[in-house]
Amino acid sequence: MTSAPAAQRQEQRLPQTRGSRKSRKAAWFFVAPAFAFYAAFVLVPLAMSFYYSFLRWDGIGQARFHGITNYVTVLTDPKLLQIIGNAFQLVGYFTVIPVVLGLAVASVIRGHMAGPFGTATRTILFLPQVIPLVAAGIAWSWMFANTGVVNQGLRAIGLSDWARGWLGDFVWALPAVGIIGAWVLLGLCTILLVTGITKIDPSLYEAARLDGARPWHEFIYITLPGLRQEIAVCVTLTVISALASFDIVYIATQGGPGITTMVPGLEIYRLAFAHRQVGLASALAIVLMILVLISIAPIQWFAREKK
């Protein structure tokens, strides 16, 4: 080990020699355990999902090769298409509400949230990130119940006609689920954006003001470009949690009424374990994974550009 310190120093300086056999062995020693767990519980199951997706299998008996029939079903069956569509509608709530509100707060406050007020704000706004989504689902099921706070508020301002069991309503259940997700993600996005905006050089705003720019122009030309990264982060996180949602829907509506709030995540679970259509469930799982990747890719590209 000590015989060739100079050579080892070389090794550090010249990256190409880092691939020497000895250091390759060391690298494997460090990486292999993590890779083994990753392979055993992610890569292998993923490959099996892919394999199952071409089968017709009830999970118990003989599996039969089924070609791409499962994929055709996922992409043509009106119910499954509606379920996938629901996930994208949820993106509207999970993503748009937190990002728009967060931007509004950030551009109005535009400064450090220092002191006790800042700490209190951060603590409270982060609470929904800390609790399990299941708890958010339970809390909001009660908020949206017939005698819950939402209806109480509506009655208090004279809109009794609007009061209803929100989560059991064919029209309003999906927006209600969307509101739950927005509530969970709102604080995180707000804090990220508020923190991000403090990194924008204040002289930009001063210059703009001297040039007689309207606040709206400041927002379009300084705030938005300056927050590009943070916005991309918020959008990425919220889109993933909308498309891959499971916990909230499982607790709040079980996908009902009808299939108005059913999402792919819950449908995979239902198909595989209640309906014993393992092949179809796996095809939907693969499609969901690809949909997430496709939706995230442009956001990442958008964030990286001009950087």
Partner: protein
């Protein structure tokens, strides 16, 4: 630096509104939890005769002590190993490999956006084949694997920022790679490791899909999984359900309040990097 502008008032108003919106569901649960047992409480109102006993009953019904123990055991099984493996792999990928092995890192990163639902069905059969269904290991082992993409990504990013000189100095002393890793790199990586630990703790404690699919017995589940079962069983008894849900939340919220600063920092960095 910032001069007080009229905007500041608007901003404070907005933020206070957001805080009220955030707290409202908790307050509504609390008011329901204090309503008389078996009744159907009405919206947000302080009950005439608050039934604090509901919490005691929920504690007994939900077997909170056992739940806490179960969640704790799962966290103990998942987090230290995950952090160790991720730190090792992050170090290995950042310091010991060349660009030729970038693909290995990319395979890990590929898992970052993977929805757990995409692998849950085969995981069920895999865990069953291992004979681990309905045990805590059914949650522990897969979670370690599922956390590797984020963990490795996180730790590699840290180690990339460590200057090479440190590595050199340690090697001139004749330290073996492992010693260098353990005595030089790991202590320096403390902040990154700390954040990762907090994030993995939260994600494990709140994990719902795996316990629902892989473990029937609520007593072997995580807190979130147990809460799901509790809702299934007591969903119609709103006061009891709300009391139980609040109880199950309490440990996380207490820990969060104690380590507020670290949690917020970890969640923010986690979001930005993830």
């Amino acid at each position: 630096m910032t001069l007080p502008r009229p905007n500041t008032l608007v901003a404070r108003g907005l933020i206070i509104l957001l805080m009220i919106l955030t707290l409202l569901p908790f307050l509504s649960m609390l008011s329901a939890a204090l309503a008389p047992q078996g009744t159907y409480p009405n919206g947000l109102q302080w009950p005439a005769d608050p039934q604090w006993g509901n919490f005691v009953r929920a504690f007994e019904v939900a077997k909170m002590d056992q739940l806490l123990l179960s969640s704790f055991l799962i966290v103990l099984g998942v987090v230290p190993i995950s952090v160790l493996l991720a730190t090792m792999a992050g170090y290995g990928l950042a310091k010991l490999t060349t660009n030729k092995y970038k693909w290995l890192y990319l395979i890990f990163v590929f898992g970052l956006t993977l929805p757990f639902e995409a692998v849950i069905t085969p995981l069920y059969y895999e865990v069953r084949a291992m004979g681990l269904l309905n045990t805590r290991f059914a949650i522990i082992l897969p979670l370690i694997g599922l956390y590797m993409p984020f963990g490795v990504y996180w730790m590699r990013a840290h180690f990339l920022n460590v200057p090479h000189d440190l590595t050199e100095a340690a090697q001139l002393d004749g330290a073996s790679r492992w010693k260098e890793f353990w005595h030089v790199q790991v202590p320096l990586a403390r902040p990154a490791i700390m954040s990762l630990t907090i994030l993995l703790f939260l994600w494990t404690w709140n994990q719902f899909l795996l316990p629902v699919v892989l473990v029937q017995d609520p007593m072997q589940r995580t807190m979130a999984g147990a809460l799901g079962a509790f809702q299934g069983q007591w969903g119609t008894d709103i006061p009891l359900l709300c009391a139980g849900a609040l109880l199950i939340l309490t440990p996380t919220i207490l820990i969060f309040l104690m380590f507020q600063r670290q949690f917020v920092a970890a969640l923010m960095q986690g979001a930005v990097k993830g």
